[in-house]
Symmetry: C2
Subunit: 228 residues, 2 copies
């Protein structure tokens, strides 16, 4: 039996890639490691999986222990297991990811973590182990995913401008989009509803406000943007 | 250290979901288990990962050992690790998948395998362990993938009819498609080239032949079907 008495599966871990979107910026939640190896380095929140724990449950527990974040819906993204990815011994890690609104959570360092902080994706420190590679993989997956599924419902205010929605897509893709094309595509999808309201505090040509059509949005989540 | 001297990581395995397409049918490659537990049951080709082996290499080795198949390009699909998924002790498995042309390979049972065989996806035996669940997951991923990326290049003859191409999409999705819509979409993608040739041996209104535009096909593989 490979699993020791203390209940840890020492060659299997989970790492959480938590993306956040606020202030028109894509961010990533990192912890500062309080123990060797790589003490003092920034890393993705991650730790060893326990013997009596399903993988999804392990990811939730580890995220909560290290960052205080709860009730984050994470999806498995990929398993990384190259022979030398961890310096001391062989560890295979199952990576999870999520995209959340940072304003709704209050990170707090816990466990073997001395700090926890949001970093803008465009201004990241070098990460410990192979965590830069894991992050890149997850970002790529997120970029592909938003071509398939609607996003924004929990990330934008209830009423938003199309410019705000566009800045979300731009932040994730890391590219500027053509305004007219973007508006045409978004309106064609039918997931937003035009409101008879305009953004306040904008004196000249205030932009129109929109909201998500929740029923349509949920349906598209299920069937995908290409279904029609 | 959790890894014993014999070089196996006993709580980590890999399973291979090998889809095949021929005779207008989607198939799956299964092995018959020659050892307990579940001796005599059909299963996905899978086995324990070695200590000095990257995950991708392990999948290739296991597939070759159990089925004789080589040079199959597999992608990782998901890691399954529920506490009780294996009856004897905790095993987490990293699943890989591929879609190949069965006519180009010659399966041969090896290792702890007493038989290896293609089964039509619509007429499967009950599989060992949680392999039905793994297969379903991989099929779902394949179905999503073909909405994104072109398929068919290595699965159809060099010159094919649009009906043959349609039957590939239908076999994977398990649904009948509308002929006119399908043709319009495929031709819009620009990945097939109309030939000035017609299928032989069809006396009345023989169907026109097409071939893939390799350059366009490869580009779409890279950028995705939604890029334009």
């Amino acid at each position: 039996m490979d699993i020791p008495e203390d209940g840890k599966i020492k060659n299997l871990s989970t790492d959480c890639v938590i993306f956040g979107f606020s202030d028109e910026t894509l961010k990533i939640l990192l912890i500062k490691l309080a123990a060797e190896p790589e003490k003092g380095e920034w890393a993705l929140p991650g730790n060893i999986i326990m013997r009596q724990e399903n993988l999804d449950d392990a990811a939730k527990r580890v995220l909560k222990e290290l960052t205080g974040l709860e009730k984050v819906f994470m999806e498995q993204v990929h398993t990384f297991g190259n022979v030398n990815r961890f310096p001391l011994f062989r560890i295979i890690t199952v990576a999870y990811y999520a995209l959340i609104n940072p304003d709704k959570y209050h990170p707090e360092a816990g466990g073997r973590t001395s700090d926890v902080r949001w970093f803008p994706i465009e201004d990241l420190p070098d990460l410990a182990f192979d965590h830069n590679k894991i992050l890149d993989y997850a970002l790529n997956k997120l970029q592909r995913k938003i071509r398939f599924e609607p996003i924004g419902f929990e990330l934008l205010p209830k009423k938003f401008t199309l410019t705000q929605l566009q800045s979300l897509y731009e932040a994730i893709n890391g590219v500027k989009l053509d305004k007219r094309n973007f508006r045409r595509k978004i309106l064609n999808m039918g997931m937003v509803i035009e409101l008879d309201e305009y953004k306040e505090g904008v004196p000249y040509r205030p932009p129109q406000l929109y909201k998500f059509d929740k029923a349509k949005y949920d349906k598209l989540k299920e069937t995908g943007l290409l279904s029609n």
